[in-house]
Structures are given as C-alpha cells and as structure tokens.
Amino acid sequence: MAAAEFTTPELKEYAEIPALQPGAMAESKPYVASDKMNEALGFPGELVPDWEQKAVARLGELLKKYRSLKVYLDACVHCGACTDKCHYFLGTGDPKNMPVARQDLLRGVYRRHFTLAGKLFPKLVGATELTREVLDDWFKYYHQCSECRRCSVFCPYGIDTAEITMAGREILDSVGYGQKYSNEIIGKVHKIGNNLGLPGPALEDTLQGVEEDVKEDTGVDVRYPLDVKGAEVLLVTPSADFFAEPHIDSLIGYGKVFHAAGISWTLSSKASEAGNFGMFIGNYEQLRKIALRIREAALELGVKRIVVGECGHAWRVAYSFWNTLTGIGAGANDPFAVQLQSQLDQRYKQPAHICELTWDLIQRGALKFDKEANDHRIVTFHDSCNVARASRMGDTPGGQFEIPRSIIKAVANKYVEMAPGTTHEATFCCGGGGGILTDELLELRVKGALPRMDALNQVVERHGVNFMATICAICKAQFTKVLPYYKFNRGMVGGVHQLVSTAIRLGSND
C-alpha cells in the first residue's frame, strides 16, 4: 500500500521551531501486528476485551521493575526545556511530538491510577482515564518516537522519553496491540537467526559472492568466513550488511581490516544479526532472549573476542546491556557470566566496536592506507543517536565521537564537521530509528529527517560535501530512502568502513 501523500518540508539556512499544529500527525500510525506475530512472542494475538484493566495492571508491574519509569513519571515539572528538542516535533509541528507531551500520554494515566492527587483531583493535575482514544494515541505517538534520547540530554532531571516509549510499547504488546514491523522482525530472529530472514545457506552463498567480488576488485583473496570454530574474533553485524546497499561496502571493509591485520575471524549463522528489536519494544525478556544467541554462538565457536559491526542500537545493546543480559563483558563473579568471561581475552574490551578494533590497529601501525583513493569524496560524519547518547568507545568519555572521526581522517583527506548542536551528544536522529523504519511511516520518517537534512544542506552548500558517513544500519537505510525527498543523491550516505575499504592497502604492508 502506498503511503498517503505529503509535502516534504523545505530546507532552511537556520533551523526554526515550528508553530504548533495540533493533530498534524494524528493519522500517522504503523500497521498492527497480526495474531500469529504476537503469539509467536508470547503476547495476546489481538486486543484483549479487558484491555483497560490489563494495561493499567501492566503499568503497575513496570513501575515496580523500572526505577527510571517511576522517577520520570513523577519528576517532570513541565518546564518546557525539551519542547523544541525532538526531531519529529521540529519536522511535523504536532504538539504531541514534544517529548513532555509524549510522556504525558502515559503520565496522565499514571496520575489517575497511581497517585493521590490524580485520584482526588484528576482535572487539576492532568490525570486521564485510559480510554480507547488514549490507547490509540499511545499506539500512534509511541511509534513516532525513535528512542533517540536527545530530550534526555537537555532535561534538567535527565528524563528519558525512550524509557517512557519503551514502557508504552511494552504495555501495548501486553494487551495484544503490538506493532507489525518490530514484532514480525523479532519473530524472524528467533526462527531464522536474523532480522531480514536470511537463512544459513543463503548467507553462505552471499559471503562467497562477496569474496569473489573482492577478489575481482583487488586481486586479493580476502575471506568472509562463516561458523569457523576456534577463530579469534566473532563478528556480529546487522544483517543488512550482507546484501543491502551501501551496507555491504562496510562488510567488505571489515573483512579487509581483518585480512590486513592477519586476525582470524568468523561470522556466525546462529548470531547473524547484531540488531536487537527487543529493546525497541521495551521487553526485557525478548531483549535478553535475542542477546543470548550471541552468547551461545560465542561459546560454541570458542572465540576470544566479540566485535560488533556498524549498527547504532545494536552497539547500545552490546556496550550497555550485553554484560547484564548475557555476561559478555568483564567483572562478573557469578557462575553464569564467569563461564564466558574466562573464555574471552580480557586484554581487549569485550564486546568491542569494529571502530575500536580498526582504530587500535591504525594506532599500532598495523594498517596502511592510500588516502588519495578517497579524494573524490568530501566527507562529513553523522553521529548515530544510540552510539552518541547511549554508549561509548575506547577508554575515555567521548570516545564514541573521536574514534570514528579519527578513522575517517586516517583514511580520507577531506573531512568537514556539521554545525555544532547537530552533532556529538546533541546529534539529530536520522528519523528512522527505534523500530519505525517501515514504509507506512514514510511521512514521519521524511519529516523527522528535516533537522539532519538542514545541517547536511549547510555543509553541502558551503563545502561541497558529497559523502555522509555513519555507523548504523538503520541510518544508512533511512537516509538512502529519504535523501531523494530533499533532492540529495541517495548514494551520498555510507559507512565508515566503506571509506576504510576504499583506502586500505591489502597484501604487503611494507
């Protein structure tokens, strides 16, 4: 089905805060998950008859499990600091896309059912009953949030709308009102092993094809191995890297780095997906179950290091959550995690980002580059939200910003930074993160990309930038789709390891 028609916003020299347009995005909502998709994940197949009581009860359970939710529902003072921080608000003007208003959709019901003030004086404190209208608003507006956490950076109490959105989606799933895109993908991960539903034999074929292409291109036998027991490194990467453009160019780059450095590595057919949509739907059990595949693969293959490819939310899950969920990390003293941690080589960070690995090799002089090979590119870097605001690289704060930039500068001569306030921890989401990279939400995705497109346009006009590097599969897919709406060439987005791949010297390093 074609998405409804809409007008692409105009690019501006200076970003403007739009006037409120109530209801502007009231028609934007994703497809509802089918009964089969829901039941495969243990959720009710369709909206249960007593959804109101069930939803309130689920909220009550979550309030006992998550301090973030409890504190954030209480602490907001409606100061308004977040109101102009969300890219979806900036792109659409819909007031319910202001972070505080998005939170208030849940906060109203919390106040009504869980606070004295809301029980006694609902009108006074903005408490609301959970009506069908409110439930539908949850479904719409909790799928107009990419869980990018930009609002949390600017909130005086650190209130993170992503935590509220995750709770909202978790409640919706618990009453059988889940979103098709995310739930279908999670089903594929469990059934086939990756988000794109690429089965083992097809993956093997694909990797063989990649080897042939690289051989033809460079004359060098670079291997892209699958399920090799005893390899040193297990690389876990988003499945889009196996065939989507421009993602595959980064996969080629990872292989060249391992080849040039002489590190034995393998992919896994069981863990052929770094992405973890369990985080997007806010479901701890799914988050954990999906992450455990990596643990199992690592134990089976006996690897010493676990490295994650270019994927934003996957790196958040890996860096921030894997140690908690699966024991991939260090510093554990429980038998469950010690089993794995004693196998891993603790001289290296576990897990490591592919950029950490590559930068480490560059610093040690293990990789050599022909930077001129990238001279046709004037490069800028888009910080992906989950990498920027929810994870880190290297040994010091801010490593997630410095390391990818250092790699780019090591492999390319022409680099330009986008405007302050649109990069680093203040970066704007691509507009497609957090489980909304689906065609029925195209209007939202195009409009949500506006702040990034404004910033990109500025460096395109002033510096002739023609390549926006990023380290996230969702950013790559989203920009490839929305760049043409803003009259940019879709081919101008690509991975950091695509740049590495272009410049790296294979074979003799002397």
């Binding site: 006037a19 409120l20 006992k64 499990k65 998550y66 301090r67 973030s68 409890k70 504190v71 602490a75 907001c76 003072v77 409606h78 308004g80 600091a81 977040c82 109101t83 921080k85 007031p95 202001m98 505080v100 208003a101 208030d104 004295l116 003030a117 404190v125 903005g126 956490r149 949390s152 950076v153 600017f154 909130c155 005086p156 109490y157 650190g158 209130i159 993170d160 701890y284 954990r288 921030s320 140690n323 908690t324 024991g327 990390g329 260090a330 510093g331 554990a332 429980d334 469950f336 995690a337 960070k349 576990q350 605001r389 929810a390 880190r392 704060p397 801010g398 997630q400 680093h424 921890e425």
Partner: protein, 241 residues
C-alpha cells in the same frame, strides 16, 4: 484559637512532608534500575557521577544547555529560595547560628529575586505557545502558591510589620512542645497557611523533582557497563531457569 490552629496545622504539615517524602524516597531507592542507561556525557567513575550530580543540582547544567530563559528564571528562583530559607533559620534557632546572621541581608533581597524568577517562569506559561500547551491547572496553581508565599512574606517585611519576636517564640515553642501565642496578623496567617499547604502537597506533586533528580538513572549511573556486571535482583532470577 489561631495559635492552636496553626500549631496543629504545622505539626500535621511537617508530619506529612517528612513521612510522605520518606515513603517516596524509600520507594525510589528500592525500585531497581535493571539496565545501564546513563546519558552522554556520562562520567566513567563514581566520583565523576558525584560531580555531575553536583553540577546538575547546583548549576542546572543540562537546563543551561537546553534553554537560557528557563535556566535564568529557574536559577534565580531556586537560588533566591535557598537564601530565603537560610534567612528563615533565625526563626528556628536560639542563639542564631553565626552564618545565618551573615545571610540576613542577602536573604532580604533574595525575596524580590525569588518572586521575579517565579513571574518569569509563569510568564512563559502564557507567552510561549509550546509551554502553554503542556501547562496544567496545577502548574499555574503551584506558581501562584509560591508567589503568594513570597509576596505575603515581602508584605510583612516592607508594608505591614508583624511581631517577629513573637513569631520566633511560637516556632521555638512548637519545636519544644511548649505552645506560645502567635501574633494576630492577617498577612502572617496567609503566609503560614500557604507554607503549610506547600509542605503538605510536596510529596504528592511535581515537587518530587527535588528528590527525583538524585534517583534519575540517566544522571546517577557511572558509564562502566563493560567493566562491571550490573544485575537487578529480578533480572538475576531469569538466569536460574
């Protein structure tokens, strides 16, 4: 009559404030944070977290990055309120602590700054469309309550004096369970009623942002998930299956 009414009111208000906050804080404390979710720029050590929290609480660092108008009015109000509260310690200490004596002249002018900050914040609720949209009646009433406390206090200082020696005797008496007469003064009655009301609604309102900020996982966690395994009790249960 008024003396007994205000004595009972302040005992009740104090009990509700202390017990209400204790229950809330215990609840925040007991509820686990199952995942590491600090927001960048996140310190990697506990010492760094303490510094971050200090900057957040004393300087409103995130708000400064966010919106200079809200920050300016917010810091003006909160800073002035702190000075005013310190100035009021003289009603509860005998002899008055020496540094409370030093604060007196600052606390006096802080009364005006506090009210100015409140009206700045209130004005935004009318003038800025986005903030008008998110404001609830209780947001306005909270500002009215605080402004009422500030204005009635300033009124007693500059327009209609009250017998502050007797007021002090009343509060010292309350603290020693030895009831002393409260001066009969309409401005004082208004001031004290509003203060008691503020104390009573504190644990049930958005004023919980004050304890809440210390429990905010995005601000109070160290960024060290790869170095230390962080496991909530209910999450650890899942590993036993």
């Amino acid at each position: 009559m008024a003396t007994i009414f205000f004595a009972v009111l302040f005992y009740a208000a104090t009990a509700i404030l202390v017990a209400g906050l204790a229950v809330k804080i215990a609840d925040y404390f007991r509820t686990p944070a199952p995942l590491k979710i600090p927001t960048t720029p996140a310190p990697t050590t506990t010492g760094g977290v303490v510094l971050r929290m200090l900057r957040e609480v004393a300087l409103f660092e995130s708000l400064f990055k966010s919106n200079l108008w809200i920050w300016a009015f917010g810091i003006l109000f909160h800073g002035a309120l702190l000075l005013v509260l310190l100035r009021h310690l003289r009603y509860f200490t005998e002899p008055v602590w020496f540094w409370v004596g030093w604060v007196q002249p600052f606390g006096l002018y802080a009364g005006f700054a506090m009210v100015a900050g409140l009206f700045g914040l209130w004005g935004r609720r009318f003038l800025v469309e986005r903030i008008r949209y998110i404001s609830t009646p209780s947001d306005h009433l909270m500002l009215a309550l605080l402004a009422g406390i500030g204005l009635s206090g300033l009124g007693m200082k500059f327009l209609m004096h009250t017998d502050i020696v007797a007021v002090k005797a009343f509060f010292l008496g309350l603290m020693r369970f030895d009831l002393q007469p409260l001066p009969s003064h309409p401005g004082l009655y208004i001031h004290l009623t509003l203060v008691a009301l503020l104390m009573i609604i504190f644990p049930f309102s958005k004023l919980l942002h004050a304890p809440g900020v210390f429990f905010s996982p995005t601000r109070n966690q160290a960024d060290d998930p790869r170095e230390h395994r962080h496991l909530a009790p209910w999450a650890a249960e899942l590993e036993k299956n």
